[in-house]
């Protein structure tokens, strides 16, 4: 399959028209891209025998062997998709097929064959070289998240002379700026940080802050484990894309606005030729870029139902059904609270969404720990 520079597995597959990447664990419903940020876990594939690899954030490389998960047959025509049709109203496993014992034994065997997420490799995989190293570091200021708010925090404190380590899981800084024309100035900040224009700031890309353990922030950098302590920590993790609630909301072709933008602006991939917008109106910059790429918006509003098999073919807006091949959801995102909660920061609801409770300058309830969130994406 052809791959362009910068492609992820997800973008290359979407360009090639492969929208169904795998099947869901219980009903074997088709699964594909949604958020394109590595958060929603609906685009998992098996790469070279490693299961549960997110297609959306994994760089495509020549020679990769990519397979669908949880299928009997292919992802597009999965024979176990019959489970979804048989259990039209859903299947409640609590107390089902529990007796007699022989039925229960057979049922459990069948369930274990049919359900689950990915397949573990049968043989132990060798670790290359010396294996992951454990490293420790103490810095004055640690910033987690290289999007607009993280970049601004790093820049501000570096100008005051505070040595700052800035980490982001993506291969480039800037967060979603590369796929949002409204964030040109963020791209300039990212370029400055990457070029070392701020002497007190060191930027590590491809570095995931995966947990907070006491006063240690644990990073995965390459395959190494870094335990970082800092006098001051700024968490600027951004938001998760919210999930829409309409019938068949899980059909491949249903994308978050950010996911669609990453495909369109980031990879030059048309999210769909005929796009229906769900939620808030789609931004003009997105509509223009879509039209320039050969797509168009065929309807907008509150989608109540999607239909199609195995991908989106129609969307219901009010009483009308609209033919489309993508539904793009523009919904307010939810702050990523995981690291805050692990650090012991108090959380609260603000306008219906869970967020760290903050005071002046983003100070959380934990001393030395600050939050930096921008407006809704």
């Amino acid at each position: 399959m052809p791959v362009r520079p910068g492609d992820t597995l997800g973008s290359a597959l979407h360009r090639a028209g492969v929208l169904v990447l795998s099947r869901s664990m219980k009903y074997h419903r088709p699964r594909g891209l949604y958020c394109c940020t590595g958060s929603c876990a609906s685009c998992f594939v098996d790469v070279d025998g490693v299961p549960n690899v997110p297609a959306c954030t994994t760089a495509a490389a020549p020679g990769m062997e990519v397979r669908s998960q949880n299928t009997l047959g292919s992802a597009r025509r999965d024979l176990l998709g019959v489970v979804d049709k048989v259990y039209r109203r859903g299947f409640d496993p609590h107390g089902a097929f529990t007796r007699p014992r022989i039925v229960n034994t057979m049922f459990l065997k069948a369930v274990r064959f049919m359900s689950g997420v990915g397949e573990a490799p049968e043989e132990t995989m060798a670790v290359e070289g010396a294996g992951p190293q454990r490293l420790q570091l103490h810095v004055h200021h640690l910033v987690v998240g290289g999007g607009r708010k993280g970049l601004l925090a790093a820049k501000r404190h570096a100008h005051r002379g505070l040595a700052t380590l800035l980490v982001d899981e993506a291969p480039r800084l800037g967060g979603s700026a590369a796929s949002d024309p409204a964030e040109r100035d963020t791209l300039e900040l990212a370029a400055a940080a990457e070029a070392g224009a701020w002497p007190a700031v060191e930027a590590w890309t491809g570095t995931l802050a995966f947990g907070v353990y006491g006063d240690v922030v644990a990073l995965r950098r390459g395959d190494d484990l870094w335990e970082v302590r800092a006098d001051r920590i700024t968490l600027a993790p951004g938001r998760h894309d919210a999930w829409p609630l309409f019938v068949n909301n899980d059909l491949p072709g249903v994308l978050s606005l950010r996911g669609a933008r990453r495909l369109l602006h980031g990879h030059g991939v048309l999210p769909g030729r005929a796009v229906v917008g769900h939620g808030d109106p789609l931004p003009a910059s997105f509509v223009e870029a879509l039209e320039a790429a050969g797509g168009r918006v065929v309807g907008q509003g509150e989608v109540t139902e999607a239909a199609g098999s195995p991908v989106v073919e129609r969307a219901r807006l009010g009483e009308a059904w609209v033919r489309c091949d993508a539904i793009v959801c523009n919904l307010p995102g939810t702050p990523r609270v995981e690291l805050f909660q692990q650090a012991g920061c108090r959380l609260g609801f603000e306008g219906g969404v869970l967020a760290p409770a903050t005071g002046k300058d983003g100070a959380t309830s934990v001393e030395g720990m600050h939050a930096a969130f921008g407006g809704p994406p």
């Binding site: 876990a41 490293l135 570091l137 040595a163 995966f210 644990a218 019938v247 909660q341 692990q342």
Partner: protein, 106 residues
């Protein structure tokens, strides 16, 4: 495809499942998590938990502030066991690396 509205795609939990569970008396988020599995799939609640919490608060007609919050445990993304296993090794406290952090710290 049958008509389903998914609350959680990881575990294939529908909005109907959630409503039934609440009607059956599962009253707080931790109850719901244990009974349905919402928040326990590979996304670890990133896509579904806030929606599920709002739905639960609406169904029970209680303010969101009275809702219990799920514990989001590390790691925030799937990572290889080998990385975690490195925590058992002797640490290298002063890695050789240039940069602004050199010479600072305790």
């Amino acid at each position: 495809m049958s008509r389903k509205t998914l609350l959680c795609r990881c575990e294939d939990i529908t909005v109907d499942d959630c409503e039934t569970a609440v009607a059956d008396g599962y009253a707080c988020f931790e109850d719901l998590k244990r009974f349905l599995g919402v928040g326990t799939g590979p996304c670890q609640g990133k896509a579904c938990v806030q929606t599920a919490m709002r739905m639960l608060a609406d169904l029970r007609e209680i303010p969101l502030d009275d809702m219990d919050v799920m514990t989001f445990r590390p790691p925030v993304r799937p990572i290889p066991f080998a990385v975690l296993a490195a925590a058992d090794a002797d640490p290298r406290p002063e890695p050789e690396r240039p940069g602004p952090t050199e010479g600072v710290g305790p």
